[in-house]
């Protein structure tokens, strides 16, 4: 019984939250990695682009709520996401046309493109804050929990409760659907294959008649979808605040690089690597050991490897270690 309790404890506090957080990071990391693989620059506007997409989601959610359209137990935001995605894609293509295209055509070095993306970051951040303001916003509605801790305890008769938020389930489900569609697209369709070819060797791809304009456009469209959904899921699960989104750029970068930048599957796993290590290393295991160990051996302290303040630092340290020992990432990068 104690053993079961311990497992439920870990599930409740580590596994489920890390899985949801990891999915959100994974979507962002695939976004970064696609841009890096095909457009060949590190996009420092990642976090702000995600907040831009989320902002549209929130605006549409408010509109639907005011009209009285809803999804019952599901959050209204799910209905708003497709509309937000359309706006986001428009924004992405607009930015590409007026900002990034010039440097791409001139074959500027990646560093210059990264600098330009910083300009885009400033502008996007300003637009988001001017339109929706810098404050913390929750736009979740519908049924909050799938299983409540209390219900779970009654059901199983265990001491530990397992609470599963509906947003966590939605996040994981949508991520799985989205990512598997994306991999199917990249590996099975002609356009996807030509994208991979373009990422692998640009000149060779051009020689074989691949249209670079089309590739770039599709990349931005996929990026827009990923950024909006990733951002909206994070906002649903936690809350929307432009500053947090900007900061999320850092673990997302870490996930993309740990997985091998330019490699979408690596980025997907990288998101979970980062999320799990952040939570595993900063969780206080005292209660877990109380269940597992006999009473005489119970620990005095919290048995916490690192204080929760260092949550971000954990992912960055992993990144630094990976960069030092395997600069191409755990899964070899730059193959797409």
């Amino acid at each position: 019984m104690d053993f079961l309790n311990a497992i439920i404890l870990l599930l409740n506090y580590i596994f489920v939250p890390a899985l949801a957080y990891g999915s959100q990071l994974a979507l962002g990391a695939i976004f970064v990695t696609l841009i890096y693989g095909i457009l060949r620059f590190a996009n420092f506007a990642t976090g702000d682009m995600m907040s831009f997409g989320t902002m549209f989601t929130i605006l549409f959610t408010w509109y639907f709520q005011s009209v009285g359209i809803g999804l019952g137990v599901l959050p209204t935001a799910l209905l708003a996401i497709p509309f937000a995605v359309i706006f986001m894609i428009g924004y992405m293509l607009l930015i590409d046309k007026f900002v990034f295209k010039y440097y791409r055509v001139n074959k500027s070095p990646p560093v210059q493109l990264a600098m330009v993306s910083i300009g885009v970051m400033f502008v996007t951040q300003a637009v988001v804050r001017i339109i929706i303001g810098p404050s913390d916003r929750r736009f979740f509605d519908g049924e909050k929990f799938l299983i409540r801790a209390g219900e779970f305890k009654d059901m199983t008769g265990l001491n530990e409760g397992l609470a599963i938020k509906s947003t966590q389930v939605i996040t994981i489900l949508i991520t799985v659907i989205l990512v598997s569609t994306l991999f199917w697209f990249l590996n099975k369709t002609k356009t996807g294959k030509s994208m991979r070819a373009y990422s692998d060797n640009e000149d060779l791809a051009l020689l074989s008649g691949i249209d670079p304009k089309k590739i770039v456009m599709i990349t931005w469209i996929i990026a827009g979808i990923l950024a909006t959904i990733g951002g909206a899921l994070y906002g649903l699960d936690k809350s929307f605040k432009p500053f947090t989104y900007f900061n999320n750029m850092l673990p997302i970068f870490a996930a993309a690089i740990v997985g091998g930048i330019g490699n979408p599957f690596g980025a997907f796993l990288g998101g979970y690597v980062i999320a799990f290590s952040e939570i595993l290393l900063t969780y206080a295991y005292k209660k877990f050991f109380m269940y597992v160990l006999p009473e005489s051996m119970e620990p005095d302290g919290l048995v916490q490897l690192l204080s929760t303040d260092y949550k971000f630092a954990v992912s960055f340290s992993i990144l630094v270690i990976v960069l030092l020992y395997r600069p191409s990432g755990i899964f070899k990068g730059k193959v797409l």
Binding site: F41, I118, V123, F253, L319, L323
Partner: protein, 456 residues
């Protein structure tokens, strides 16, 4: 003279703008803008050395700035005796353990060939070391943080004049840059950017949460000053006389003695804060000029020539027998040290150390905008960039307000759009920075004052 015309023109316009702020807003605002412009100029010079001279991207400016600030605290605050007696021994012992750990790792690195076992041994040393250090330091840290937590709760510093911290800040930042450079400089440009950005976040996390050293988010306030205090100035005779002399024409207009005295008091209060700011301006100006002379000398020296050669073609420079790795490390350390000076200057001016205020937007990306806008590779350009961008950063709110009022003039004052726009005026600065950066990158990629190298 002729060829420097654009430099002179650009600087005169900049100074003119600051003077205009002084005339139309207040001299206090103008001087505080000027002081921060000078600090920004020091930071941009540091970043410019790395990016403009050597082509190294350093997105970790925030970390070095914070380390400089930490130096200011550690140098100037008086030591907290009780905290030292409570946990000083543990901390010192942990410090020795850290040094021992580093030496052990170095020994292993030197003694054994590169192999898997060596990596495992090093990992084992580090993990074991961290566990032992935690056991040793934990009670000490707890004891220190319990010493009067509302006021101290940290070890304090050395109680020296704060001006020394400018040098120590440079040493701290340079030391960190040495370590980072050793491990990260081999990375490609954009990886280096990301790595330094993340490392600077780690530095901030440590400064924020190691309360025994920095008081963390509880902030350190009331640091010593290199300049006199306003309150003391207001009571000194020579200062009152000075203010009287300055404002004699205005004071003479007032005939009533009591009124005159009140007016004089007002002038003295205003004058004292201007005087203090002027003191800071003088100090900062000295630093900027010294650094400018040194960096200009370096730029035109054989060493500067070599750096440009390495920047423009690494392989060729390597083939000519230049040690690229060593030079990159050197310039990384030098540039970061300069940023460290700026960090210490910043805390000196503010008189307080607030780890929570270090954010990458303000301390990393804004500095990069300054470097790019001003003109990378050109020291005058970098300084000008610091001035222009900081000036816009501060003045964008009034400018934004003016623009909003202008464009929405036809709307009712209570119209929701107008109210919303006026509320969001502070964020126009981000818009201006971004748009400015994008425009400069597109139409003047070398900055306002482009790099110009003449062989003398």
């Amino acid at each position: 003279m002729r060829k420097n015309l654009n430099v002179i023109a650009a600087y005169s316009i900049m100074m003119g703008l600051i003077v205009l702020v002084g005339i139309f807003q207040s001299w206090n605002i103008a001087l505080s803008i000027f002081n921060l412009c000078l600090i920004s100029a020091v930071m941009t010079m540091g970043a410019n050395i790395q990016w403009g001279y050597a082509g190294l991207i350093n997105f970790g400016i925030m970390g070095y700035t914070a380390l400089g600030g930490l130096a200011a605290v550690l140098i100037s605050v008086n030591p907290v005796q009780e905290a030292w007696s409570a946990g000083g021994l543990n901390i010192l012992f942990s410090l020795f353990l850290i040094i021992g750990m580093v030496l052990a790792v170095r020994y292993v690195l030197k003694k054994y060939e590169k192999s898997k076992t060596r990596t495992y041994i090093i990992a084992a040393i580090i993990i074991l070391g961290i566990i032992i250090i935690r056991f040793v330091s934990e009670p000490g840290i707890e004891a220190i943080e319990e010493v009067d937590p509302a006021k101290t709760g940290f070890l304090g510093g050395f109680g020296l004049p704060i001006i020394f911290s400018w040098i120590v800040g440079a040493l701290f930042a340079g030391g960190l840059a040495f370590v980072i450079g050793k491990v990260a400089l081999g990375l490609r440009a954009d990886y280096l950017a990301i790595a330094t950005l993340l490392i600077s976040e780690i530095v901030i996390a440590i400064i924020k949460h190691e309360d025994w050293l920095t008081r963390g988010v509880k902030n350190v306030i009331g640091l010593k000053r290199p300049a006199p205090y306003e309150v003391n100035l207001q009571q000194t005779d020579w200062f009152i006389n000075l203010v009287e002399k300055f404002n004699s024409s205005k004071l003479n207009l007032i005939s009533d003695f009591a009124e005159r005295q009140a007016a004089l008091n007002q002038f003295v209060i205003e004058g004292s804060s201007i005087f203090v700011k002027l003191c800071y301006s003088g100090l900062f100006l000295v630093v900027v000029i010294i650094l400018l002379i040194l960096t200009q000398k370096a730029l035109y020296s054989p060493w500067g020539r070599m750096m440009r050669a390495i920047r423009d073609n690494e392989e060729a420079a390597n083939a000519m027998g230049k040690n690229v790795v060593k030079q990159h490390l050197l310039i990384f350390v030098l540039g970061s040290a300069i940023v460290g000076i700026a960090g210490a200057m910043l805390v000196t001016q503010d008189g307080l150390f607030t780890p929570g205020s270090y954010r990458p937007m303000r301390y990393t990306f804004l500095i990069w905008v300054m470097v790019i806008v001003g003109g990378s590779g050109n020291n005058f350009g970098a300084i000008l960039g610091g001035f222009v961008v900081w000036f816009l950063w501060i003045e964008s709110a009034p400018i934004g307000l003016y623009l909003v009022n202008l464009t929405t003039a036809g709307l009712d004052d209570a119209h929701f759009l107008k109210v919303h726009l006026i509320e969001s005026v502070p964020y126009f600065r981000f818009l201006m920075m971004g748009a400015g950066l994008l425009l400069i990158m597109r139409y003047r990629p070398k900055g306002i004052l482009p790099e110009k190298i003449e062989i003398k």
